[in-house]
């Protein structure tokens, strides 16, 4: 039985004396979180379909250190970062794409101070590029045509790195009706998981942040909430469950939307 899709590792590439065009940094959520694995799979399939020469680190990949750094543990962050840089530089990696804005921010902005210099892209930017180059031609129509969709800005993509248009360009290519939430782009409301909040219970308050954000998303009347971040995906999906809307409203990552359009989803 032949495998339709391939995921070569850097170790395999190096053994074959090959150098991939881009490293797909999967991230911890993309590797372990069952829901986000679907995003990893969708993006991998897209890379396969377009014929991108890519590789992953596989078991050699470890946490970038982002949550440790945001929670104050600079030692642990730097331990992770320096080890990762050794691996990345060992393979002479030049270009990285990741579906996690936290990994994206850390690799792009914080690794250079520790000697790791790479061209880092978020998968929304990568997909935007593929669409612009005509390497992905949207089928449009079908399940998506004219349907309302809203996009939730991830803080680490938006405010942290001023990437607002790439994810929107991806959505626009899908022939869907993009309805913005009241707080969007630079004023977008956080899902509640950034700054290592993903890994602890929220502090005492009157409401959970993801519920506040989900309510805002539901107000747009969109049946699809698009996200570009594993933590946002979890938080928004939990918010939808909290509102008992999981039958009507789905939370999908940009890569999943493209994969569906291209008939690549399982």
């Amino acid at each position: 039985m032949s495998n339709t899709y391939q995921v070569p590792t850097m170790a395999q590439k190096a053994a074959a004396g090959e150098m991939p065009e881009v490293l797909f940094w999967v991230g911890c959520a993309g590797s372990f979180d069952e829901r986000y694995q679907a995003v990893t799979l969708a993006f991998t399939k897209i890379l396969n379909k377009v014929g991108i020469n890519f590789a992953v680190l596989g078991e050699e990949e470890t946490c970038t250190g982002d949550p440790a750094r945001r929670a104050g543990n600079e030692f642990l962050f730097q331990m992770q970062a320096i080890s990762n840089i050794q691996v990345l530089d060992g393979y002479q990696i030049k270009k990285i794409v990741t579906a996690c804005p936290h990994c994206f921010n850390t690799l792009k902005n914080e690794y250079p101070a520790l000697g790791g210099n790479y061209e880092v892209m978020h998968h929304s930017q990568f997909l935007q590029g593929l669409i612009q180059e005509g390497k992905i031609v949207m089928k449009g129509g079908g399940t998506f045509k004219g349907k309302r969709i809203t996009f939730h800005d991830s803080c680490y993509l938006g405010r942290a790195n001023d990437v607002y248009e790439a994810p929107r360009d991806v959505i626009k290519a899908l022939d869907m009706e993009l309805v913005e939430m009241k707080r969007c782009r630079s004023k977008g409301l956080c899902c509640g998981a950034g700054g290592a909040q993903m890994f602890k219970e929220p502090e005492k308050g009157s409401k959970d942040i993801n519920v506040e954000r989900t309510e805002e998303a539901l107000q747009t009347g969109a049946k699809t909430i698009a996200v570009g971040c594993p933590f946002c995906l979890t938080m928004m999906a939990d918010g939808i469950k909290n509102k008992d809307k999981e039958k009507d409203v789905q939370v999908l990552d940009l890569a999943e939307l493209i994969a569906k359009d291209q008939g690549l989803s399982g």
Partner: protein, 449 residues
Amino acid sequence: MSSLPQILFLLVLGAAGFILYKRISYIRKTILLGRPLARNDRPKERWKTMALVAFGQQKMFKRIGPALLHLIIYVSFIVINLEVLEFIIDGLAGTHRIFASALAGFYTLAMNVFELLALGVLISCVAFLVRRNLMNVPRLSSAELKGWPGLDANLILWIEILLMIAILTMNATDQLLAYRGVEGYIPLGGLWISSSIQGLFEGLSSGTLLFLERFAWWFHIIGILGFAIYVTYSKHLHIFLAFPNTWYSNLEPKGKMPNMEVVTQEVKSMLGLQAPPEATDQSEIGRFGAKDVTDLSWVQIMNAFSCTECGRCTAECPASITGKKLSPRKIMMDTRDRAEEISQSKASGKDGNDDGKSLLGDYISQEEINACTSCNACVEACPVNIDPLSIILELRRYTSMEESGSPAQWNAMFQNVETSFAPWKFPPTDRFNWASKLNQEEKKPTNNE
């Protein structure tokens, strides 16, 4: 003419200048309690940021209503202060409206512009007073504004109203005196706004008018000097500090946290990548992160002095919106309060920061810093580019690295990263298991396509 008013004026000006000098030195010293930080790179970009954000008030215009009212006050502040130059020359030289004859028609035009702006300021300040006290704007009525901060905000508006009334009264009475031919007063040929209130003063004797005109003149100039001194005690310092504060903005992407070089040295030596730092270096290593304002950088303390407590940060903060204890504005207010406490204590020869108190603990609680999602909404919202997040993250660094005092779930996460190289407790050998699902799904019957 007696030169008594001139002597008096010189004394007032000298005293105000002396007090201001003292206050500015005090503020400078307090800001420099912070750690050194070199932020002089990319000067072109810095001047541009200052021009757009401070001078051009770019970020104010995210909320158009308050932005317009604020713009009127701001423009008036700059323009009307040109008139203060004349006040000072007149005061010292014993002249009256020294520029009037030289500038002739242009002078009248300028006075009319000043009056129009003064009226604009009056209207804006009244609108702000109503908005602050009668309309329920959440960010203007939060708990952290109880007491002095709220009083401070109102006082500034009242002082500005009084100063503007003084200008208009002065012009109205001045022109009445000029029309009556009183010596030294120059008819300016029509000041539209003050002439409309002349009716209030028409019945008064020239002597009373003279007194009123002089009173308004002195009230205005002493008021302005007093205001300048008051500002140094107030949240209103932003009128000056917005400029350096935006010049020293963080120009890096907002998501980037500064690297701790001391930690890098230790980590590299632990990993055997470089020789351990010399023992003598160790003694120079201060605290990791920040417990008190003296652990912060001077820019962070300047941020605190530049804060005018508008609360746009808190209004945008997801933690604050959902009822958590965190308020980025309070972080800045606390930072300034603590910096001033240390500075005053030092000035009076006391313990300074060795008073057993600290920013973290006595002013800002763990609960507050633990609520932050590091989303940068506060940083984005600030009209003068203050960065409350950077302070929160420094406090977290101290908590984690010096006290191991992070929330238990974070400590568990740290442990997972250390042992499983992921924030969740999965065996690292399972990291690539997802790949086995890649071609599995194909075989499953699907109904989505």
